[in-house]
Symmetry: C2
């Protein structure tokens, strides 16, 4: 399907049988992302061996594409001079990220050994918080003064294009380094070289501040369909630029956050986090859930006499509550996503609510009927079947109704619906489940036993 | 923070007080994405009124940026000639999407009234399935034959750049229209105009087939950090191109899919889907859940004598099961995300498992202790406190252990972990919750009552 993937097929054989020089030649012909994919699959020693075959330029691109674990393994045992070479050819943002991950003394040594200019750039970037525009921007860019001609911009572009990749835009600045205009590089081709750039540049500049949160930066990219974006300080001075490929991961991260939130993970917990960090993140939510579970339990307590009279009700009671929770979670997920994508708002909420409750009723009838039959055949008690079937219909109806209402109310209260909805919903479906089932059982108790 | 947003502040006042001509002038100075944002907030009539003030070129960009509901409302009552004008200036992919959403007879009328070439392009695109490369590509691009010189490519670029925006790459084709090379437009600036393009073009082409699934296309974009990508047919003939901003939404959609999957929504259900579609999507999962809930209930059935002897156990039993489910879901969400992001694999699973079970044990001890105290003070039965506390420690430990194991095993079996994990996990935490709590209660029954 694409040239590079086609090449991957025989890599294992190659590594086993091939000679060093041949492997080197083969592998440096691949795209860095594919080299990273290959290295990922190898043993720790082989990872280092293959990585060390790479030219510093290629190695610098492979090391940013590779997974965290492989990166750690490779960097653990790398020669300092080689690392300086690699960092030296990286864009400043990537260099800063890499250095930020190194042990303090190692990082300092690398910074000392870098050319003075690179070192200064990286140290400047290291000052910005990781999740801000400043933390993800790089300082390599094409900028010209507003007094220049188009041909000067072209000359400037030619001068730096060897060293800096992916130059999409020319940023135009005034004598105070304030950003005053922007011009796609390719459009320089369309204009007479002797035209003053200030006459043809676009003055509608979209830019973000160095301290803007990266999620806001991602939204700006998405909203305006950008490929590159200028970053300025509070005096509007040009500080760096961000490219779309740096932002794609932020957008993906943000989209997957809702899942974590709905599951009760409210911070950016990573799978490899140490246990105490996990506890700190997860315990508060568990304690809140415990409180709501105790509330639901106290509802069961109201029906102690009924349970005493017919203890098999205790078997069925979690089924009703649980199925309400399951159905409600489905409705919730669709609703939270609809809100996130802007497909649901207060204007069209009524229709969504109607659809969801009808779906809830139908699903309640279907699963309620199945459960009624199961209960009847299992315990030979047709009234038990009717009671549990009705209770399930009620609970699934309620679950689907509030699966829409709760996130909408939270949104209206300016609370993130993904964060708090599930607590309210499962408390509700537990309580309604117990009340409807045990309540009906209490009402029909003389037909039940 | 950016020029456009700053302008939005007084738009409401403007609409209320301003004159038509002034509003028109003001609004056409904005970015189409901002105009879409403004229109979104207006009443149905006002939406149409403001939209109709826009020049066809701007209108064509606003209509693709706006939310589905506003688009429907605007298109419902639009003049056909105006719609032809708007569609006429759209990129072919956007035009095809818009036409695909129109009622059949209306769509045909629009196609008839479009210039012949546009109409043919759109009809070609309409044949591809919506979620393939063919369905999201557009046919407007810059391509030159391999025999030409760099200056010819520049002339070609100048000729089409008025009409086609965002030309990043020059695609080079042979006499059979097969794609043989690619060259970023900006690099044309760097090369002597009289150079044959075949000598400087990049022959390492990354391309996708027209029938490639859009999610695979998105992965190619992400992996190779692309801004634009060539689409070819099975004979490698150039058919169209896809830009990163068309792909950003696909990437976001894919990331948010895991949340729906974990909640038991396995198809692309939208918040405004009719109830019967929701039932068809949701019911199978509910039925499977019902089966597992019945399984868990039968576990409770094993302890009927214990429950008969001490009916308040029925109150507390859902707490133990539910808290295990909550803790397990947390572990599951972090694990599923870790797998999706490539941070967790079989190589580092042991460490993740150790971390998670330690976290589970600690969270179990914390919430178990709280629950023990609550049960003791509530029912004045210290042994009840010990039994429920121990049961919770066991269940949270197990939940965190299998919250890692289950998705990993599913991944190993090549089943999407997001899809099936939660069923297995909650069945397990229900059963273990009931067994540990009622089992311990049975064992200590003489100290309990």
């Amino acid at each position: 399907m694409n040239e590079f993937n086609r090449n991957l097929i025989n890599i294992d054989d190659l590594i086993k049988g091939g000679e060093r020089e041949y492997i080197k030649e083969y592998i440096t012909g691949l795209h860095p992302a594919d080299i990273a994919d290959i290295i990922k699959t190898l043993d720790e020693d082989k990872k280092r061996e293959i990585f060390n075959l790479l030219h510093a330029e290629v190695a610098s691109r492979v090391i940013v594409e590779i997974d965290d674990r492989s990166r750690e393994q490779i960097l653990e045992d790398i020669n300092r001079e080689r690392l300086v070479d690699i960092v030296g050819v990286m864009d400043s943002d990537k260099a800063a990220d890499l250095i930020a991950d190194l042990p303090q003394d190692n990082a300092e040594k690398i910074l000392e050994n870098l050319p003075w200019k690179d070192s200064a750039e990286v140290q400047k970037l290291l000052k910005y918080s990781e999740d801000t525009a400043g933390g993800i921007m790089h300082t390599e860019l094409l900028s010209v003064r507003e007094e220049v001609l188009v041909e000067d911009a072209i000359i400037q572009f030619m001068a730096i294009s060897e060293e800096i990749g992916n130059i999409h835009d020319t940023f135009i600045i005034d004598k105070n380094r304030q950003l005053v205009g922007v011009m796609p590089v390719r459009k320089l081709l369309l204009i007479k070289p002797e035209t003053p750039i200030s006459r043809v540049m676009d003055r509608h500049i979209i830019s973000v501040n160095v301290h803007t949160d990266q999620e806001e930066v991602a939204r700006v990219f998405k909203k305006y369909d950008l490929v590159s974006l200028a970053v300025v300080d509070k005096e509007d001075r040009l500080m760096g630029r961000i490219l779309i490929d740096d932002i794609v991961d932020v957008l993906i991260e943000e989209a997957s956050e809702d899942m974590l939130h709905m599951a009760g993970i409210y911070q950016d917990e990573k799978i490899m986090d140490p246990p105490l960090r996990s506890v700190r993140i997860r315990l508060p939510w568990l304690v809140i859930n415990l409180a709501t579970a105790i509330l639901a339990a106290s509802v069961v307590g109201l029906f102690q006499d009924t349970l005493q009279a017919m203890v098999i009700l205790a078997m069925f009671m979690p089924i009703v509550a649980g199925m309400g929770g399951n159905a409600g979670t489905q409705a919730l997920a669709v609703t939270v996503r609809g809100i996130a994508l802007g497909e649901l708002d207060f204007g069209n909420a009524k229709k969504a609510l109607l659809n969801s409750t009808i779906a809830g009723l139908l699903n309640g009838i279907a699963t309620g009927a199945i459960m009624a039959l199961v209960a009847y055949y299992w315990k030979g008690n047709y009234m038990l079947g009717i009671v549990i079937g009705l209770a399930m219909i009620i609970n699934l109806f309620i679950a689907n109704f509030f699966g829409i209402i709760i996130p909408l109310v939270l949104k209206w209260l300016k609370i993130d619906p993904a964060v708090a909805s599930s607590i309210f919903l499962t408390t509700l479906t537990d309580c309604i489940g117990f009340i409807s089932f045990l309540g009906l059982a209490t009402f029909f108790i003389k037909y039940l036993i």
